[in-house]
């Protein structure tokens, strides 16, 4: 394999000089000499060994992205944004699926550590299992101490720079919207209890109700888990409610759940939005593809990823970065919501 030594030889310069031009260091090199080195490198089809370089510099132009599951469109979109900016800047993106399991997350962090990544992005949102935040913080500390840039893309137990969607306000706004449509009985399908983000959305929902002077009724909270199956399951319980106690709108903690809710309702013979309005959170591409199209809270996911990676790059350049930046969320009104009272029951 061709190394910098052959390049130097062919160019008739020392390895140091060759390295200076190859590594784009800002060290002064004579114009002609530089040209010769570049020509030699091109001729030999040479590119530097990233491993060797990483060994010297102590970091490797690799970026780890921690996600729950790369097949989940929420993460897939973020990952795509991260990857775009990463590759534009010569970084390689490593997928780390955790399935939201602390053990897997820790394991990946360990493996990543061995590779001296330049940065790590936590796309998903902080697991809150007892004792886990501390363990995680410790592992992450080992990384940051050694210069790895760590960024989260959601509210998180980790106290590192973060670019995060306004989950609280998004949920609050959605409740406002439903209320302005005339809804008073608004159910909420929750996310996993151990996920910070899921809880913040729940809080936004509750805040929205309280602001409007509505009371929280226990059975308006349906347990979900951010999955389609969870949403489908959750609404089944509504069939047992006497008609006048049924919600006129169901707000799901994420889009996948909302899709499940729609499937469940269809099976029950309830029509959306005639009998009940449904809305989600995230604005995944699929929200526009289903029928009826899904009203949801828009997070610019790809942009979230792009911005997160830019933050990593800024950190790496020792630039000043805001500790926490909030990405605004907004309501996208589509066909799955309508005023209540269209129903026959």
């Amino acid at each position: 394999m061709t190394s910098i030594v052959q390049v130097a030889e062919l160019a008739g310069v020392s390895i140091a000089t060759a390295s200076r031009v190859i590594s784009k260091s800002n060290y002064p090199v004579n114009y002609k000499t530089r040209e010769r080195v570049l020509a030699a490198a091109a001729e030999l089809n040479y590119t530097p060994n990233a491993l060797a370089r990483g060994m010297k510099t102590q970091h490797s132009n690799m970026l780890g992205i921690i996600v729950g599951d790369n097949t989940d469109p929420y993460y897939a979109e973020i990952m795509r944004g991260v990857e775009e900016v990463a590759t534009e800047n010569g970084y390689l993106t490593i997928v780390c699926n955790t399935d939201r399991q602390p053990a897997k997350e820790l394991k990946y962090l360990q493996t990543l550590r061995d590779f001296r990544p330049s940065g790590i992005i936590f796309a998903g949102g902080g697991l809150t299992e007892a004792g886990y935040p501390e363990k995680l913080a410790e592992k992450v500390c080992e990384l940051t101490e050694r210069g790895t840039a760590v960024v989260t893309l959601s509210q998180h137990t980790l106290h590192v720079p973060s670019y995060q969607p306004d989950n609280f306000d998004g949920a609050r706004q959605m409740v406002n919207k439903l209320i302005s449509l005339g809804h008073r009985k608004i159910a909420f399908v929750t996310g996993p209890a151990n996920l910070i983000v899921a809880n913040i959305r729940l809080q936004g929902y509750m805040a929205g109700l309280v602001e409007a002077g509505l009371s929280l009724t226990q059975n308006m909270l349906l347990p979900g888990n951010f999955s389609m199956a969870g949403g489908e399951q959750a609404v089944k319980s509504l069939a047992y409610l006497p008609p006048h106690e049924r919600p006129t709108a169901i707000f799901a903690a994420n889009d996948e759940t909302a899709l499940g809710v729609m499937i469940g309702l269809r099976q029950m013979g309830w029509q959306v939005p005639r009998d009940v309005s449904v809305c989600g959170f995230g604005d995944l591409p699929v929200a526009q593809a289903v029928s009826p199209t899904l009203t949801t809270v828009r997070i610019g996911l790809r942009e979230l990823g792009r911005h997160g990676m830019l933050k990593v790059l800024a950190l790496l350049k020792n630039e000043q970065v805001a500790e926490i930046e909030i990405a605004p969320t907004s309501i996208v009104e589509r066909d799955s919501t309508a005023p209540p009272g269209l129903s026959q029951y």
Copy 2:
């Protein structure tokens, strides 16, 4: 940072000995000595620097996976399978989005090369632009020569070990199925013309028709591009056909296209499967989520990824591997297909 030197010191042995036990080499080391090294490593929370190791061994326990777009569920599923097996074996998975652009694919291969990956998996299927297969083959050759294990997960221009779904037979079977339902006018929405896999599915479709003694009518071929928008667009042209010339079934080259087809038909006021049957290829998770649920050709995508990675591992161990293995495909009949003639026109 703690290196093997501190471990050796703490254990009171030489670096060589420490390395022998840490690197799990099968070199004989005294039982007690081994224990001491392990204890020291544990105490120091030591794990070997993957970069340094890679520098010696000339490959880095990294695996590149080349996909069109990681947000495409087809690739996401494969990637997930690959990642599972990779991480179980201590490999890191690098996402490489090419958007099916030769230039991006080449660029990624170049970057990967610098990192000395142990393996590269081409999840997507061979671009056939003029002159490109040769260029790609050359780049890949540089990699394989140096011991990188390269595997494709579809029919491909590259002549490397491959584990690939039976795209031809899947399409043929689907046509058989439609014919057995009574369909005679079966349209096919094609994939991108520059994609091998898309063409093979098209060939399977044609073979199925020919076997049944049906003729290929030109306007039964609708141009698509594997995207939802493409499917939506494609069916619009059918509105201009006189009713008796309209297809009674539309077979889309992949599931995304089929979803687009369903959306387009809905806009045109055609009901599925009453007015026209629709089917896809791939069996993405979403195929079960849409309404009506989608009849499609099942490829075990995650399994495809898992198996592909296993093939890489086998190659790395210099085991004998089959050059080409075919993964069977099968028909999953759901609600989007029915016998023709239910339509009112």
